[in-house]
């Protein structure tokens, strides 16, 4: 039982990062119909910038805020320099553009920060808490808690603010949103800023537990994509549930089946789910216009 609890804790911790990444995918997908393969690089940028600023001697909270801001700037640059000029390109072209953006970001980080791994200290100490025979790192509580707050703030943003409702309207019908006076280009930019910031937060939360380096973004981003698809593309609730489910499944596989195949779990899971529910767990079934 304590072992199960242990796996559950580590699963939920990683799952929180996946959930944040998946929310980022969902935001951009809703605003533009684009799957942003550079999402993983925002996670990487969060962790790397935070570690860099901290090493430069800044206090941890300031380093974290600056890192999130830096990732948000990267989000603006990707949208302005790569997505906007592409206009109404085909899905495959857009996928390749975001992959190009992801390679560019990864390459720049490799050039300027090197290939070595970096670490960030835990926010509040390393002393593990004992819970029902299992140990829980304080950092895990941070990851779970901050993710919960972020999700609550997003729910408030989309449910209660004009800007959030404008984003939802754009996702629902872009042309109609333009007709009622919503600046959909700004909405697109905002979705990139938000999802870059979300990714960076996830990267920073997980950095003290796992090391971070220039190439962690690939796998984290792909798993975020899996989590977003698992819940149903564009569904916020689906993204959170998908992320947590994925983290738990992965950690259970590592614990009970084989740690070597841990990384394969998300992809097996998504194939099985898509076989039976082609639109994900919470996705709407679309209709084709002929």
């Amino acid at each position: 039982m304590s072992q199960f609890l242990q796996f559950l804790f580590s699963g939920v911790t990683v799952g929180a990062t996946y959930a944040l990444a998946a929310l980022g995918f969902a935001l951009i997908y809703n605003a533009s119909g684009v799957i942003n393969f550079a999402q993983g690089e925002f996670i990487m940028l969060g962790g790397m910038f935070a570690a860099l600023f901290y090493q430069l001697g800044l206090p941890l909270p300031l380093a974290i805020v600056l890192a999130v801001a830096a990732a948000a700037v990267a989000g603006v640059l990707v949208e302005k320099l790569a997505i906007e000029p592409a206009g109404n390109a085909e899905v495959v072209s857009l996928i390749i553009i975001t992959i190009g953006a992801s390679l560019t970001i990864r390459g720049l980080v490799q050039v300027f920060m090197g290939k070595g791994t970096r670490s960030l200290p835990a926010f509040t100490g390393e002393t593990p808490l004992a819970v029902l025979g299992a140990t829980l790192l304080p950092q895990s509580l941070w990851a779970i808690g901050v993710t919960a707050i972020v999700v609550a703030v997003l729910a408030w943003f989309f449910g209660r603010t004009v800007m959030g409702k404008a984003m939802l309207a754009t996702a629902y019908n872009k042309l109609a949103a333009q007709l009622v006076g919503i600046n959909t280009r700004f909405i697109l930019l905002l979705s990139f800023v938000l999802s870059a910031a979300l990714g960076a937060v996830g990267g920073i939360l997980i950095a003290p537990i796992n090391y971070t380096s220039y190439d962690v973004g690939i796998m984290l981003g792909l798993k975020g994509f899996v989590a977003a698809t698992l819940g149903g593309l564009g569904s916020g609730m689906g993204a959170v549930v998908g992320g947590l489910l994925l983290g738990i499944a992965e950690s259970m596989t590592a614990g009970y089946v084989s740690s070597a195949y841990k990384d394969a779990t998300p992809f097996v899971l998504i194939l099985l789910i898509l076989f039976f529910r082609p639109q994900g767990l919470f996705g709407k079934k679309g209709t084709d216009r002929v």
Binding site: Y29, I35, L81, A82, P85, A86, G87, A89, E90, V91, V92, S93, L94, I95, I96, I97, I99, G100, A101, S102, L103, T104, I105, R106, G107, L108, Q110, V111, I218, L222, F225, V226, T229, L233, A260, Y261, D263, A264, P266, F267, V268, I270, L271, L274, F275, P278, Q279, G280, G286, D288, V290
Partner: protein, 312 residues
């Protein structure tokens, strides 16, 4: 002479492939040419799926990797003759593709992208982890290609083999596209519902083209394994899958000759960029983005539209 009129591109391709070896200055140039031919053959098959039928696959390197590793394992560990191993690998890949094709090809758009990506990654993780069979991340050696007592060795022999394969693949692809089956595939790209209405068995056609492109990727993977003589899991990896799709898109979707240009550019680019010392990833990323932004339809279709030549 009639052939020159009906298939001018094929005749030009054959001529270029014939003349090319006399212009290649050294072994390095031969090596690049052979790799281009191998990639181009894979990409022509992938283009039948992505460009003509409109079904994306972000996992084709997985099939390439299955072919490559199956050939290497069957020949070096079990002592199979290379040609039999190549055929068995292709049959195995075709079976794998056929088994997953129906559920996967039911999916659309990003869900299809996700599923094919997942399939490719699962294959590459298996290759990395089954170290007893594949050598894991350290890689494994693959023997030489031989058939009926003759061994393919040396750059020239490999060039003629891969160039010949490329020519045959191009010819077959062009014929397929002009056949009723090819029309059906293009109809599916246009609109799946509409093509079902006019009596096209869309599922069957999608499954067939998926299996065909997977088997072709496997065959080229087998040849690649024998050519390079040493395999690492990267051949089946996500990045290789992306490279293959990029070759399709850069050359031009639904253009067989575009595939060859795309393969040539994307194969040579990393070699040219390797002089940039550390900046090659950045340069590659920027070039990918710029190509897609300024030539969204790919090289060959954009140029064709510009200069108004109608022939496919």
């Amino acid at each position: 002479m009639n052939y020159l009129k009906s298939h001018p591109g094929l005749v030009i391709l054959a001529a270029v492939l014939l003349v090319l070896p006399f212009t290649l200055p050294n072994a390095y140039a031969y090596d690049v040419a052979i790799r281009v031919a191998i990639n181009a053959s894979v990409v022509i098959g992938l283009n039948l799926l992505v460009g003509y039928t409109g079904q994306i696959s972000l996992g084709h390197a997985g099939f390439f990797g299955v072919g490559a590793y199956a050939s290497a394992i069957l020949t070096s560990r079990w002592g199979w003759p290379p040609v039999a191993a190549l055929a068995a690998a292709a049959a195995g890949t075709a079976l794998l593709a056929w088994l997953v094709a129906r559920p996967i090809l039911k999916l659309k758009g990003h869900y299809l992208a996700m599923a094919t990506l997942g399939l490719g990654i699962i294959i590459s993780i298996v290759i990395v982890n089954e170290t007893d069979w594949t050598g894991g991340p350290d890689g494994m050696a693959a023997g030489a290609l031989s058939a009926f007592g003759a061994e393919v060795s040396g750059d020239r022999a490999w060039y003629w083999l891969t160039a010949g394969v490329l020519l045959v693949v191009t010819w077959l692809a062009l014929n397929l596209i002009d056949s009723p089956a090819g029309r059906a595939l293009q109809a599916i790209h246009g609109s799946e519902v509409a093509s079902r209405v006019v009596g096209v068995d869309t599922t069957a056609f999608k499954v067939r083209v998926f299996v065909l492109s997977a088997a072709l990727a496997s065959v080229m993977g087998s040849l690649y394994a024998h050519y390079v003589g040493f395999l690492t899991p990267g051949v089946a990896g996500f990045f290789h899958s992306i490279e293959l799709v990029t070759m399709v898109v850069v050359g031009g979707m639904a253009s067989v000759y575009g595939c060859i240009f795309g393969a040539a550019i994307l194969t040579m680019l990393p070699q040219l960029l390797s002089t940039l010392e550390g900046w090659e990833t950045v340069a590659f990323g920027v070039i990918l983005m710029a190509t897609m932004i300024f030539l969204p339809r790919g090289l060959v279709p954009t140029l064709r539209a510009r200069f108004g030549k109608g022939a496919p």
